[in-house]
Subunit: 345 residues, 2 copies
DNA sequence: GCTCGAAATGAAAGCGCTTGCACGCAGGGT
DNA sequence: ACCCTGCGTGCAAGCGCTTTCATTTCGAGC
């Protein structure tokens, strides 16, 4: 069938309603400026023709796209997936759409993504963490695109951000283990080079231990990419390299769960012989038996709130620069006092 | 600091290069039409000014946005997260950007999302599964936006699609259990009302059992939303409602894992007393002990390939309407022969 | 019924880019 | 020497909408 009316334009609506282009435009986007009956006619005409405003044209005229860019590390990390989902929903509710780009922790890719999204006219941008190429924020700055940093808190106070102190949360985890009596602690950290969250989490552990005069020898720290498999492998390696620890902290839950599984396979009792703590509180953490002691990261809330803040700022409202989210320690079954006597092995 | 040059326009580039607007445009987007030295001057000028093409203007002039819409069920399901990540990467590599909307299995929301993305000028659209409001595809049709159905295969041959037969894969799972000797089988299915994948998976089990003369009483089937917690609860309910089964099939891996955990908590030996199979092969499935028997769903490949196909079609290339992906059964430790004598409980 | 100010409407100028068409110029055939 | 071809370039007309400014209409007050 030949498409008889290839997408009606506003002009068609105006003609059908017997008003001018300008009036039709106002009737649809600024209802208050038009008399009720006129508006009615326009709306009716629009409905009848199945009129859909042309986004690009509107964007060109207003230099607003009603689109928000989001640049995330691999969305297949459940923690980010939840956040993007919540963000998308929040934006959709306000008539905005999310432009999503994801990068594999490569900051040059992130920069490229930000450039692309700015070129697409994103009205605002959500980025993750504090580690970026210097140009990344400069591009946003120059283009006049407001951005929101998520997950981490920017101490300098220069940027709008929403998140929590990874160091602080990590300190709580370490203190919990210290309070239980652990003195020999190991860490399976994420990649601290490209990722301020992993770096801060590791630093938190170091701080907490140092504050109580407990050492964290380099051999007791291993860095891997986030995954269950790497958690297993990392734990095995720690055991081989520097045995004798009674507790291990995972840089995130999948890593901790990997360690847990490895213990199970090796017949190491958790928490009898080995305590394990994670970070993020993914769904699984609470379903395991024993449940994983971890830090609850409100990822969906962060996504939702980041969207809200950005929209508020675009609407000209003032928004506190820093929004700290709670990240409480959730104590479950994988942590307990260290074995009474002797050490593992 | 005052923004001295608020975003250079193509005109500025042209002036700097000493050519006309038209030539500058061609130099940047159709290199072949311009003499090498001219092109060089333009490129240099563009680089010097930090010129970024204005997406909306280009879109208006070409009626192409280099943007692909993706409308997914909750991206926090790891299986979809992997697919969107792969899709985004594939598109980015070709200079396209992904507009992502997600909906909570509510088809009206899906329709609204598709409308929004079409309004934003998406050049193509990726949708999931076969269940849609009739208007959804009509909107795409009318707007002339090509779409790709993922996950499911459209038997009617009317739509471009990439996925696999959920029924077929499900049959393989059921046959595997039948071959092991199971005759009393239960199913924790997803919501079959709003979701053709869940429906087909359940139908596959029914078909396979029926083909061998095995009954699947309604009491042995329970429908829940996808999650580990619901898998647990569902399993518990089945046990209460219709005990005596020796195997349970989860509508996806989280459900199966929930059942597995519930068994563990109740001291039911897997696979000694109870066999469990899932669907999707998420990372965790292989890391559990015993490993979960499941169907490997190539979700990242589906995302990547959907992107490729759409881009190829936009480039005018012919693409086979249907692309079937492999979805092999992966047998691990959670399935084994039914207990020799007597039944559970 | 008339005047005046406010409210509603219309005409038209862009927003930044692409692209059909026209034009100028170099080179090859006759 | 001439015309024709064809490449490389420039001119200018949009793409579909918003928005300023001018104009018309309306309603209230006298």
């Amino acid at each position: 069938m030949p498409r008889s009316n290839p997408n009606p334009r506003l002009e068609d609506v105006a003609r059908a309603a017997g008003v001018s282009l300008a009036t039709a435009s106002r009737a649809l986007s600024e209802p208050g400026m038009v008399r009720a009956d006129t508006r009615g006619r326009v709306e009716q005409a629009a409905a009848m023709l199945g009129y859909v405003p042309h986004g690009a044209a509107r964007a060109l005229a207003t230099s607003r796209t009603r689109t928000i860019g989001a640049v995330f590390p691999p969305v297949d990390n459940p923690i980010f997936a939840g956040a993007t989902h919540a963000l998308a929903q929040e934006l959709a509710a306000a008539g905005y759409t999310m432009l999503l780009a994801s990068y594999d922790y490569d900051l040059d890719d992130e920069l490229a993504a930000v450039r692309a999204l700015v070129g697409r006219g994103a009205d605002g941008m959500v980025v993750v963490g504090l580690d970026h190429r210097p140009e990344t924020l400069a591009v946003l700055e120059r283009a006049g695109v407001p951005w929101e940093i998520t997950w981490s808190l920017d101490e300098s106070g220069r940027h709008h951000c929403i998140g929590f102190s990874h160091r602080g949360a990590s300190i709580r985890v370490a203190q919990h283990l210290l309070d239980l009596g652990h003195r020999e602690i190991a860490v399976i950290a994420g990649d601290t080079k490209r990722n301020d969250r992993a770096r801060e989490r590791l630093a938190g552990v170091k701080d907490a231990l140092a504050a109580r005069g407990v050492k964290l020898p380099p051999k007791r720290v291993i860095e891997v990419d986030f995954s269950v498999a790497n958690g297993r492998a990392g734990f095995a390696k720690l055991l081989e390299r520097a045995p004798g620890f009674t507790a291990v902290i995972g840089g995130n839950d999948p890593l901790a769960i990997g360690a847990l599984f490895e213990c199970r396979d090796r017949g190491i009792d958790v928490p009898g012989q080995m305590s394990i703590a994670g970070f993020d509180d993914i769904e699984l953490a609470g379903e395991l038996a024993p449940g994983l002691t971890t830090v609850r990261v409100p990822s969906a809330e962060i996504g939702r709130e980041a969207g809200r803040r950005l929209l508020a700022r675009l609407a000209g409202k003032a928004v506190p620069r820093i929004k700290e989210m709670p990240a409480p320690l959730v104590v479950r079954g994988t942590t307990g006092p260290p074995p009474k006597k002797g050490r593992l092995k």
